[in-house]
Symmetry: C2
Amino acid sequence: MRDVSIIGIGSTPVGEHWDQSLRHLAYNAVASALRDANIERADALYVGNMLSGEISGQAHLGALIADFAGLRGIEAIKVEAACASAAAAFRQAYIGVASGLQDVVIALGVEKMTDDVGSKLTAGLASAADADYESVHGITFVALNALIMQRYMYEYKVRREDFAGFAINAHANGAGNPNAMFQRPITREAFTHSGMVADPIGLLDASPMADGAAAVILCPTEQAREFTANAIRIKASAAATDSLSLHDRRDPLWLQAAEDSAQRAYRQAGVGPEAIDFFELHDAFTIMSALSLEASGFAERGKGAWLARDGEITPEGKIPITTRGGLKARGHPVGATGLYQIIEAVQQLRGEAGPNQVTNAQLGMTQNIGGSGATIVTHIFERV
Amino acid sequence: MRDVSIIGIGSTPVGEHWDQSLRHLAYNAVASALRDANIERADALYVGNMLSGEISGQAHLGALIADFAGLRGIEAIKVEAACASAAAAFRQAYIGVASGLQDVVIALGVEKMTDDVGSKLTAGLASAADADYESVHGITFVALNALIMQRYMYEYKVRREDFAGFAINAHANGAGNPNAMFQRPITREAFTHSGMVADPIGLLDASPMADGAAAVILCPTEQAREFTANAIRIKASAAATDSLSLHDRRDPLWLQAAEDSAQRAYRQAGVGPEAIDFFELHDAFTIMSALSLEASGFAERGKGAWLARDGEITPEGKIPITTRGGLKARGHPVGATGLYQIIEAVQQLRGEAGPNQVTNAQLGMTQNIGGSGATIVTHIFERV
């Protein structure tokens, strides 16, 4: 099994790209990543995407984007695992290079959500949940997360206000990220008084839907120096699943797949959570940040929100999270998000995070979540 | 890189399963493959599927099916490459085992087409073509293939009747396959007088849409003997792409991705087409059989249909194809088809093909095609 590194990154700004089609967004990210790696060819392309079939009437993105990006003929497929699609695609690229079967591989995440004609978006997002037992009742994705948050507040005696720090930190960090959808800080008052979406989830607990594309180039670590001086090593890669439906879980307040994939990643990397310098977690809703921190070993059960309350998640805190805005402020183009997280980790480790730079960042972790915790993909990256 | 073998196979009959949901079909195939391999656990699940989001409102099949099959927690994703989704999922399973990162892996293909409410099926299938340049004009998938067939007949002076042998052979072979959707032979007259679907494609040129699920268990060849005495070795695995849109191809009558993936497979296997004992090709339409035979080196350009006319594709012919009915008679549950092909190859190599057994089958090839030739995945299997 070969050691694997990242030699190029590229992404579009996250936002509403009314003037660009899905393939143009994808092309921009791929071309930019190839330029960054200083190469023109690749052996394979793995595309993470969730909703192109439903929203744009376009399946078969692997071949489509390979061709449109000037790479006609190369092996290319789409990987889907709901909102964890991009990190899942990245993991397949990692496995491809590790196997020795592929040398230079592109992992791309792309989502074009503004193509939505006929309001299929809410139904499309709900397809990440269990169609026969959850979404059939009309429950939306935000409503599912609201059920979890409600229960969390009841069980652990936490107030809605205690989650404010997650959103405030994300928006403060997004202000320093030129690719972020929202580049304005928010106040505690704005959080408290933001309109309710699904009680207790308010507008500022929730990440925005958006268009975006993010691409990363991988190759064997031993060849990385031929292309670039600032390759970032993939120190660990792990994925795990849980039941799609909340009611089937032993404990709806515990992300078992986060624990499983994080523990596997820690074992592969030979480190524990205390060694991680920053953590790009999946803050689709503030409650998910708390659960992700707990199941990944950064906080005790029921105490994830305290890290936000106590300022431990800011760039100067004990475990900086969402250092470039996270899903909340950078935006959440669902099938692309996992690769935005990975690119932001690479930027931190290269020392290219600008005003959001985490000092002396050596080890960074990313965690991409599909559904309400049914697919969770965790990676650890290292500056070498 | 590790050598990889198949140690278990399982599938549902192909047909209209009104009484079974997508997850039940998937479960039946997975459980049957696990029984066949005499194991109860796996490290990972790769699900090939094209249309569950559009037809059943259900994305996120990896985690869903892992859980429903009693494998909660294992790594699981969906792979999509239009009608080539199942072989693409199988290839990812192969790469996973070859890499050393995964030991026992399940490749599953599943498609539930009868869930179609609101007639989304034709639009869904058209999403395999280019949404912005082909399907936007209202062209359906069968119409695209009709354009190719029309041009083929004009260019090579072939009559529609010359394709009859493909359908007659497929139906004759389907009669011996208890899992086939159509188990009745057809006559040349029936072919000639079958109703026109999209000129020149008649009803008996076209494969039927259907429900179905097919699963295969892979593990390292060196561990295969621990599980079974009749493991089948994966001698070659290759995938290639082409443009989605027909008008962008240099030659619409040449499946470049079939040539590319077949040639790569021959190189990996160290053999040429003359060594292949049978070929499970992707006869979604009779024209595709001709093009696949040509681009894979079994016939000269423009002469693929002659093999059918001359009886060279029957079980006793030079290159037996669709030995258990093919897409035409076994049926075409799109995202599952590639794994039905692979299971049929394994049955031939194990000597379990019953009345369709190819004598002394040693090397078998499968080829799964997505779109009108944009993704093509070729595998070669060996009895050891």
